[in-house]
Symmetry: C2
Subunit: 411 residues, 2 copies
């Protein structure tokens, strides 16, 4: 969700003026921190250490913006076919539920509605229905916000609020077919997160509930493993609803309800959050919602922070993904986009939702070099030079913004 608060002003005031003791007693201390942290960005110094719920992550590979916003360093991606969970970004809309929800994973309950035979299914039952493995790019809607000159409110993510991960779970359509299919007239898939909400606040003002077009059913999955391990709390375990090709906010953590609905949810995160609003304007339900990802690429090697660069041959390397389409080709420029050369793919294609690794061998003489990459997806869509300006800094796939300048020392 937007890093800007989705709480209405009165709701936020209620949260912030509630005594910390009362919040802590209700196990909701995290909400207070969240409300404080989400008011503006940057809001105070980032924590120096990883918060406990992601204490198992590799701090050296991460930029810690806040306790709920952590991104992968560009220099940590390496050749990066699959992003290890220890390096994967974190973006929590609300504080994670208590870890106790992981103690009985198999008993986690999901309600299915808007189907011929609505019912609740345990994770144990879901596992009996199927098991498929799905590599895909997981990317925060605001990834690349840090490159907007307008400095939108919210975490100034660079490239690292993204990773290529592997989910294992049951295709949502398999579950829906087992329940008799989608009811006539339903146009949306509405997923609801299992976060515990504080009392005294209109749930719609804060809950994580998103509605995706019915066409997203084709590839959607109810996932219980991330990179071959049970999903951690930070990443939405025990059960996450994932829609390959869509941005992170649409991947519902701790999913407790999937409803096929005639209309979009009225939750504020849908109606006003994650809209492409004009700069200086206000969010409005009539504006486009942040849904599918656009074609995008960036360079991970070489970078200035990777150490001294010597004159001579180098492999310019990066990753490219198409959102809902596979990648057809990637070009690289070492003169800031004046001239381009076709890069080669350097690893396997894991399906159309995963990223492709690319490289181009170039000779870099002494001096400064502006390295940029530009991807084309299999539908022929070209990664654009410029971002689309918007109030909250979403969907930045500008190749110019993602360039990197390196300096080769004179011999």
């Amino acid at each position: 969700m937007s890093d800007k608060s989705l709480l209405s002003a009165p709701a936020r005031r209620r949260l912030l003026t509630g005594s910390a003791t009362a919040l802590a007693a209700a196990g909701l201390g995290g909400f207070s921190r969240l409300a404080q942290a989400s008011g503006a960005a940057p809001s105070g110094p980032a924590p120096k250490a990883l918060p406990a719920y992601v204490g198992w992550k590799d701090a050296n590979a991460l930029i810690i913006h806040s306790s709920s916003t952590i991104e992968t360093k560009r220099s940590a991606f390496g050749a990066g076919l699959i992003t290890p969970v220890q390096q994967l970004y974190v973006r929590n809309n609300l504080p994670a539920p208590a870890p106790t929800i992981l103690e009985q994973r198999e008993d986690w309950s999901l309600t299915l509605e808007g189907v011929k035979s609505p019912r609740a299914l345990s994770l144990r039952e879901l596992k009996s229905l199927g098991s498929e493995t799905l590599p895909m790019v997981l990317q925060c809607s605001g990834n690349g916000r840090g490159f907007f000159p307008s400095k939108p409110a919210g975490t100034p993510w660079q490239v690292g609020a993204a990773g290529c991960v592997v989910w294992t779970g049951v295709p949502l359509r398999t579950v829906v077919e087992a329940l008799g299919g989608v009811l006539d007239g339903m146009r949306f898939i509405t997923g609801t997160g299992g976060e515990q909400l504080p009392a005294g606040i209109d749930p719609l003002s804060i809950m994580v509930e998103r509605s995706l077009p019915l066409k997203a059913l084709g590839d959607a999955m109810l996932a219980w493993e991330l990179n071959g391990e049970p999903i951690t709390l930070a990443h939405g375990g025990p059960l996450r609803l994932v829609f390959p090709g869509y941005t992170g906010v649409n991947q519902i953590k701790y999913v407790k309800r999937v409803a096929f609905t005639a209309e979009e949810t009225q939750a504020k995160i849908m109606s006003h959050g994650y809209r492409i609003s004009p700069p200086g304007g206000k969010a409005d339900p009539a504006q486009p919602s942040v849904l599918e990802m656009g074609v995008k690429s960036w360079i991970n090697t070489p970078l200035p922070e990777q150490g001294e660069l010597r004159a001579g041959r180098h492999q310019i390397q990066g990753v490219a993904f198409g959102g809902t389409e596979g990648i057809r080709s990637v070009e690289v420029s070492i003169d800031g986009g004046k001239t381009w050369k076709q890069a080669r793919f350097t690893g396997p294609e894991l399906g159309k939702f995963a990223w492709r690794q690319f490289a181009l061998a170039v000779d870099l003489p002494a001096g400064s070099h502006a390295l940029v990459s530009r991807a084309v997806d299999k539908a022929g869509r070209v990664q654009p030079e410029q971002r689309i300006e918007n109030l909250s800094g979403y969907n930045n796939n500008s190749w110019a913004d993602h360039g990197v300048t390196v300096t080769v020392a004179a011999a």
Copy 2:
């Protein structure tokens, strides 16, 4: 290498009778531990905690046989497209070099011999020559030794001395071409590990040096990343020579020399180690060497240790790989191999050297069920029912040995 000591009896005696203080002073305390641990298996209780050089691994996912032999629990593989390094098995032939070799990774030096223009190349130079990403199964030659009724000396690995990993590096043939190609008459690729050897012992008796047939050049790689991160010390960083389709001993850690040679190395690990010797016999250079892996599969779900199994529908899941060929199909039996059904693949194919995930939906009533899987590679080779008996318990790909019996409680 074999878990049996490759040291000659006098050499071993010299090591063992050397005072621990002297060995420690030389930074070789590990050799003493190794020599003690490798005399027989099991030799004393396994350490309860992970040794320091792999302290970053996930102890809960691992079986710790000794400080240099650690395997992945079968129940930890999950759906397992790529095995996280935190769960990946460890098998070190000799104690790992000092971690200081990782401090200047780019300066690591590799000598190339048996080519038109022999020379040393730094890792920095190797990186300039290319970068490709290669998913492959990494498997210890003795994986499955624990299923041999003859109880061969050596670690009684079950299924977990294996993983599917992703290497990034430069193809060896690219480097060889840059150096003018292989000299005429050379029939082997001989790789030498960079372990520090103790003084006073014939290096050939202990060094890690293996010779592979020249045909292995086609797919060989000099790798510096494992699963997208710089290779750790435990897994052979800063540089490892990998031959996809070959067993673990052939994947040379800390590789310092690659030589194209007319003859096999005289190192004992080649001449007498890793030979398919008859049961009760002795290793001999005329016996077949342990090189390519055979077609193999096993089931990871359900397992008795994964908790109570209820009557009804289940997804029988596992992994299959062909060694040097991709997998064509996998069959599953729930009656110990009397009747078989074709399983489905449940994830992407990452190339012919990676494993494929498979699943079969079955209805399991109350009672005991003997679950087995049988893979066929793209060359038509069928995973055999029986292991080939041999002195040291190598190359076990028997489907019967890798079966698992589960019990479904009466309702």
